[in-house]
C-alpha cells in the first residue's frame, strides 16, 4: 500500500509530526491539517486515500469534520480512522461512516496495521 496518500488531522502538531515521519518511513505520502476546517481545505485540493481524524480539536472538531467528509465524498466513500480517547468511545458508536478507530495514546505498530487493513478493504471493489 506504499505510495497511498494519508491525511493526518490533529491539533497536536508535534504528535502529528511523529505520525507523519513514521508513515513516511513506511512509504506513505502524508498530508497534514491541524483542524477540521483546514483539513477540508486540504482535501479540496488533494484527495487522500485515507483520513486519520482526531476528535478533540479547536475550530472544527472531528465529528463535524466527519459529517462534512461524508457529505462531500458520499457516506463511507472516504475511509476514516478516528483517533480518540477511551472516554469518548461511547459517542463513537453513534457515528456513521467510519472505518475504524484507534484509542489514544496508541502504539505506532497498531496504527500501521489498522491503516494497512483499512486501505486493503477500501481498495477492493465493493
Amino acid at each position: 500500500m506504499a505510495g497511498k496518500k494519508i491525511l493526518v488531522i490533529d491539533d497536536e502538531e508535534q504528535l502529528a509530526l511523529a505520525v507523519k515521519i513514521r508513515l513516511q518511513s513506511k512509504g506513505y505520502q502524508v498530508l497534514s491539517a491541524s483542524n477540521g476546517r483546514q483539513a477540508l481545505e486540504v482535501m479540496s485540493q488533494d484527495r487522500p486515500d485515507l483520513v486519520l481524524l482526531d476528535v478533540l480539536m479547536p475550530i472544527m472538531d472531528g465529528y463535524s469534520c466527519l459529517r462534512e467528509i461524508n457529505q462531500r465524498f458520499g457516506r463511507g466513500k472516504m475511509p476514516v480512522i478516528i483517533l480518540t480517547a477511551r472516554d469518548q468511545l461511547k459517542e463513537l458508536f453513534d457515528l456513521e461512516g467510519i472505518e475504524d478507530y484507534i484509542i489514544k495514546p496508541f502504539d505506532h505498530e497498531d496504527l500501521l496495521v489498522r491503516i494497512e487493513r483499512v486501505l486493503q478493504r477500501a481498495s477492493k471493489p465493493a
Binding site: L15, A18, S25, G97, K104, P105
Partner: protein, 883 residues
C-alpha cells in the same frame, strides 16, 4: 321480755347487763314507754352470762352496768368488744362514777347514761341507744374506707400524699420510695421536704400555686413539674390534690397523688422533635396517601413547590407514585430513589412506603450543584487525561523514531539510553493511568466493556507480556493449567490490568530464582484465578489494609526503592468488584503470598445473545457486516468417550485458532466465540465473501483432516455453516434467530418441571408459560399425586403451591425432603402474602426458594432459571459429560 320470746320485726335488740333488779326494771319500763321503735330486751345479771348471749343470738347494742359482780368497770367494755367487735356499748352509771364512765367511752364505749336521767325521761335512753348504734355504724364505715384508702395507696404507682394543713405534716405512701428511688429515711414527712425536691426553676411557682388554690377556697389543684428522684435525677410528674374541708368549710387536709410522666413527656418531646425535623427541614418533605392526595407538606415543600398545595396531579414529584408504591409494597423494599429534572434544577427524590399508615413519605433534595460538580469533575478528569497523555505519547513516538533509526543511525550506547528513557516513560504513563483510573472509579464513571473472555487466551497474553520481567530475575512464571480453562464474562482490559498488577507485584517481591504460578479454578458459582509466589510474604497485620489506597507495604523487596503510586491493588480491588467479584490475599511473612480473584460465573447463553445483539447493532451503525460461522463435530459423543473431553476440546481449540487466523487474513476480527460440546460458534466482522473464504479454508484444511488425539491419528468429520448480515440475512431478527438456533442452547436437554397446584386453571396457565420457555412440563393436582408421579419420573424442579386440600404444600415439601430420591430436587414454593414468615421457617436450603402470590411471570421465570442455572452451566454438567 324473757329469753326465747320472739322479737317484734324491726325491733332493736338490747342486751342489758345489770346485777341490780331494780335498775333493770327501771330500764325495762323506760324502753317499753318509747313510742315508734320497739325494743327487744334481754336482761342478764353477769358479764359472763352477757357474753354467752352475745355469742348465741343477734344483739344490736349492749347496756352495761359498770359495777358487776364478775367485772370491774372498764374491763367490761374491752371484753365485750373483744368478743364481738364493733358492738356498740352504752355505759349505765350511778351518780358517783361519772368520771369512770367518761374513761369507758374513751376505751370504746359509745356513750354513757346516768340511771337517774333514765328515770326522769325514758326518751333519753331510746335516743342514746339509737345514736350509739348509728355512731358505731358510721365509725365502722370510716374505718373500712380508711382501710380501702390504705390499700389503694399501696397498690397505686402514684406517690399518694396526705398533707395536714395545720401541722404541715405530709404522709407519703410507699410509691415515693419505689417509684422515685428514695430510701425510707430520705423521705421527710413534711411540706418543706416536698418543696425542696421540686426543680429549683419551678419550686417557687408550684408551691405558690398550691397555696393559692387553698387560700382561694378551691378544692382541686393540679400541676406538672420536675421532681427530684433519690438518685438526684429529675422525673416529670403530674401532681393533683383534693382539699378536704371540715364541717365549717375550712380546709384541713389535702390528699393527692403524684404520677411519674417522664416516659410520656419524653415521648411527647421526641414526637415534637420529630415533627419539627420534618417541618423545619430545609429540604421539601411530602406525604401522599394511597389515593395520590398530598396529605402533608413541610414549609420547605410549600415554599419550593407552591403548586403542590393544590394537590395538583401530574406534578413531577407525584408522577408514577402509585406504581412506586405498588412496587415497594410488593417487594418489601424500604425506599426508592429517583432523579427528577424540573426547569434548571435536578432533584433527588427519596420515596418510602409506610405500611402501617399506607402512605408514601418522600423527601426531595436539590442536587443541581452536585450534578454540576460531578460534571466538572468528569470534564476535569477527561481534560487532564488528554493533557497528560498527549505529551507522553509525543515523547514516546519520537523516541521510537530515533530508536528505529528512521532519523539516522544510533550508537549502541544511545540505543541503551533510549531504552532507559522508554522504560521510565512507560512507568510514568502507568502512574498517570493509575491516578486517572482511581479518579474515575471514585467518580463512578467506570464503564465495563464486558465480553466473553477465554481465561486461557487472557492468561496466555498476560504471562507472555510479563515473561521478560520474570526472566530478568530468573523467576519461573507458569500457568498451572486446569482441566478446562473456563470462559468468563468480563472487561478484558480491566482484568488484564489487574492480573498484570498482581503478577508484577509477585515478581517484584520474590527473590531471584523463585517461582510465580497462576492457577485457574472453576467452582460451582465462581471462577477463581490465583497468583502464588514464593516471595517474602506479607505480615498478618498488613493483610487487612492491603487493598486500601496509598498503602505501601514494606515487603522486603530485592530491589529497594522501587515504588509505585500505592494505587495498584486499590484499583485492582475496585475493578474486580465492578465485575461482581472479590479479591483477597493469603500470606505468611517469609513463606510467599497467594492473591485470589474470584469472578461470578455467568449465564452463557444470555451473555452470548446479548453480545450478538450488540455486535449486530454495531455492525448496522458502522454500516459493516457480521458473519456467523458454526462448526459441528460429527460423532462427537463417540470421540469423547474414546479420547476424553479434554482431547476433543483441544481439537476444537485448534480448529478455532484456524478460523481466527483465517478471519484475520480476510481483514476481520473474531468478535465473539462460543464453544460448547460439539459446537463451535464464531462471529466476525467480515462480509459474505470473506466469510465464505474462511469457511472454504476450514473445509479444505479441517474437514476430513487428520488431528492428533491422545497419540492416535483420528480423522474427524466437521460440518460448517455460515451466514452474513446483511448480505445473506437481511433482517436483524432473522439473524438473531439463526444464531440462536445454531446455539447450543437448543441442544441442551430440556429441563423438566413439575407444577403442583389444585387449581386446574393455574396449572394450565403455568404449563403454557413454562412450555413457551422451552421447559418440559408435568402437572400434579395434589400432594399424593405429586409423590406418585415422582416415583416414576425424575424432574429438575418442582413448582409447589402451598394452599391445597388433603395435604398442603409444606407437608409435601417435608415428604420430598425425607425421600433420598427427591431430596435434592429444587423446590419453588408458591405462597400467599403473609404466610411467608411463620410457615417457611426452618425449611430453607440451597435448593429451595419461594414466590409470593400474586407474582410477576418474569419473577417466576427468573427464580426458576436461577435455581436451574448451577446445573446447566456448572461443574456438575461437565462432570456428567466426562463420566
Amino acid at each position: 321480755m324473757t329469753p326465747g320470746t320472739p322479737d317484734a320485726p324491726g325491733s332493736i335488740r338490747v342486751l342489758l347487763i345489770e346485777d341490780n333488779p331494780g335498775d333493770a326494771r327501771l330500764i325495762q319500763e323506760a324502753l317499753a314507754e318509747v313510742q315508734g321503735q320497739p325494743f327487744a330486751l334481754v336482761w342478764v345479771k353477769r358479764l359472763a352470762e352477757g357474753l354467752d348471749r352475745l355469742a348465741a343470738q343477734p344483739i344490736d347494742i349492749v347496756l352495761l352496768d359498770l359495777s358487776l359482780p364478775d367485772s370491774q368497770g372498764l374491763e367490761g367494755v374491752g371484753t365485750i368488744q373483744g368478743k364481738t367487735p364493733a358492738m356498740p356499748v352504752i355505759i349505765l352509771t350511778g351518780l358517783d362514777d361519772e368520771a369512770l364512765a367518761i374513761e369507758a367511752v374513751k376505751k370504746g364505749a359509745q356513750d354513757y347514761l346516768g340511771k337517774a336521767v333514765v328515770q326522769v325521761d325514758s326518751s333519753f335512753l331510746a335516743r342514746a341507744i339509737r345514736y350509739a348504734i348509728e355512731r358505731q355504724r358510721i365509725e365502722e364505715a370510716i374505718r373500712a374506707s380508711e382501710q380501702r384508702f390504705q390499700i389503694v395507696a399501696r397498690a397505686t404507682n402514684d406517690a399518694v400524699w396526705d398533707w395536714d394543713l395545720k401541722t404541715n405534716q405530709v404522709w407519703w405512701n410507699e410509691a415515693i420510695q419505689t417509684r422515685f428511688k428514695y430510701s425510707p429515711t430520705q423521705v421527710k414527712p413534711d411540706l418543706s421536704w416536698w418543696s425542696e425536691q421540686i426543680h429549683p426553676e419551678e419550686s417557687e411557682r408550684i408551691v405558690a400555686g398550691i397555696h393559692a388554690v387553698i387560700a382561694g377556697g378551691g378544692r382541686f389543684w393540679s400541676s406538672e413539674y420536675r421532681f427530684r428522684r433519690g438518685d438526684g435525677t429529675f422525673a416529670y410528674v403530674f401532681d393533683r390534690g383534693y382539699v378536704v374541708q371540715d364541717e365549717q368549710g375550712r380546709p384541713v387536709r389535702m390528699i393527692g397523688a403524684m404520677m411519674d410522666i417522664t416516659e410520656r413527656k419524653q415521648a411527647e418531646q421526641s414526637l415534637a422533635r420529630l415533627a419539627s425535623f420534618a417541618e423545619r427541614n430545609p429540604d421539601p418533605v411530602i406525604e401522599i396517601d394511597a389515593n395520590g392526595t398530598v396529605t402533608y407538606l413541610n414549609s420547605a415543600a410549600s415554599a419550593k413547590f407552591p403548586e403542590l398545595t393544590k394537590a395538583e396531579r401530574g406534578h413531577p414529584v407525584l408522577e408514577g407514585l402509585s406504581a412506586v408504591m405498588g412496587t415497594l409494597q410488593r417487594t418489601g423494599q424500604q425506599a426508592f430513589v429517583r432523579e427528577i429534572a424540573m426547569g434548571d434544577h435536578v432533584y433527588e427524590q427519596h420515596i418510602s412506603y409506610v405500611a402501617e399508615s399506607r402512605v408514601i413519605r418522600s423527601y426531595i433534595i436539590d442536587i443541581t450543584d452536585r450534578k454540576q460538580v460531578e460534571r466538572l469533575k468528569d470534564e476535569f478528569i477527561s481534560t487532564v487525561s488528554h493533557e497528560l497523555r498527549t505529551p507522553l505519547a509525543t515523547i514516546k513516538e519520537f523516541i521510537a523514531i530515533i530508536a528505529d533509526e528512521i532519523a539516522g543511525p544510533t550508537t549502541p550506547d544511545q540505543k541503551q539510553y533510549l531504552g532507559i528513557i522508554k522504560t521510565n516513560i512507560d512507568r510514568l504513563a502507568r502512574m498517570i493511568n493509575d491516578v486517572l483510573d482511581m479518579a474515575k472509579i471514585e467518580s463512578g464513571r467506570i464503564v465495563l466493556n464486558k465480553e466473553v473472555v477465554s481465561t486461557q487466551t487472557m492468561l496466555g497474553q498476560v504471562v507472555e507480556s510479563m515473561k521478560l520481567l520474570a526472566q530478568s530475575k530468573q523467576i519461573t512464571l507458569t500457568i498451572n493449567a486446569p482441566k478446562f480453562f473456563p470462559d468468563i464474562y468480563a472487561d478484558q482490559d480491566k482484568l488484564t490490568q489487574v492480573l498484570i498488577n498482581l503478577i508484577s507485584n509477585a515478581i517484584k517481591f520474590t527473590p531471584d530464582r523463585g517461582a510465580v504460578t497462576i492457577g485457574v479454578d472453576e467452582l460451582e458459582t465462581e471462577v477463581r484465578i490465583v497468583v502464588t509466589d514464593t516471595g517474602v510474604g506479607i505480615e498478618a497485620k498488613d493483610l487487612p489494609r492491603l487493598f486500601e489506597k496509598f498503602q505501601q507495604f514494606r515487603r522486603m523487596s530485592a530491589e529497594s526503592g522501587s515504588t509505585g503510586t500505592g494505587l495498584g491493588l486499590a484499583i485492582s480491588k475496585r475493578f474486580v468488584e465492578l465485575h461482581g467479584g472479590r479479591i483477597w490475599a493469603e500470606s505468611h511473612a517469609g513463606s510467599g503470598s497467594r492473591f485470589y480473584i474470584s469472578l461470578p460465573r455467568y449465564h452463557v447463553g444470555e451473555v452470548f445473545r446479548e453480545y450478538v445483539k450488540s455486535a449486530l447493532s454495531k455492525a448496522r451503525r458502522a454500516n459493516s457486516h457480521l458473519s456467523i460461522i458454526t462448526i459441528a463435530v460429527a460423532d462427537f459423543e463417540d470421540l469423547r468417550s474414546r479420547y476424553g473431553a479434554e482431547a476433543v476440546r483441544t481439537m476444537l481449540n485448534l480448529i478455532e485458532r484456524r478460523i481466527r487466523d483465517s478471519i484475520r487474513l480476510n481483514a476481520g476480527d473474531a468478535v465473539v466465540r462460543w464453544q460448547n460440546g460439539d459446537l463451535l460458534v464464531v462471529l466476525a466482522d467480515i462480509d459474505q465473501a470473506g466469510c465464505l473464504s474462511v469457511v472454504d479454508r476450514i473445509k479444505r484444511t479441517a474437514e476430513g483432516g487428520t488431528y492428533q488425539l491422545e497419540h492416535a491419528d483420528q480423522r474427524i468429520q466437521i460440518m460448517t455453516s455460515s451466514a452474513t448480515y446483511p448480505d445473506s440475512v437481511v433482517s436483524e431478527e432473522d439473524f438473531l434467530r439463526l444464531v440462536e438456533s445454531g446455539m447450543p442452547v437448543s441442544s441442551k436437554p430440556r429441563r423438566r418441571i413439575l407444577i403442583v397446584d389444585d387449581e386446574p386453571k393455574i396449572r394450565h396457565f403455568l404449563k403454557e408459560v413454562l412450555e413457551m420457555q422451552g421447559y418440559e412440563v408435568l402437572t400434579a393436582a395434589s400432594g399424593p399425586d405429586t409423590l406418585e408421579q415422582l416415583k416414576v419420573q425424575a424432574v429438575d424442579l418442582i413448582l409447589l403451591d402451598v394452599m391445597m386440600p388433603v395435604m398442603d404444600g409444606y407437608q409435601v415439601y417435608h415428604l420430598l425432603r425425607e425421600n433420598p430420591q427427591t431430596r435434592d430436587v429444587p423446590v419453588l414454593i408458591v405462597t400467599a402474602q403473609g404466610e411467608r414468615t411463620d410457615r417457611l421457617l426452618g425449611i430453607e436450603g440451597p435448593s429451595y426458594n419461594y414466590v409470593i402470590k400474586p407474582f410477576e411471570i418474569e419473577e417466576l421465570l427468573g427464580k426458576i432459571q436461577e435455581m436451574l442455572a448451577p446445573r446447566s452451566t456448572g461443574r456438575r454438567a461437565v462432570e456428567r459429560e466426562v463420566s
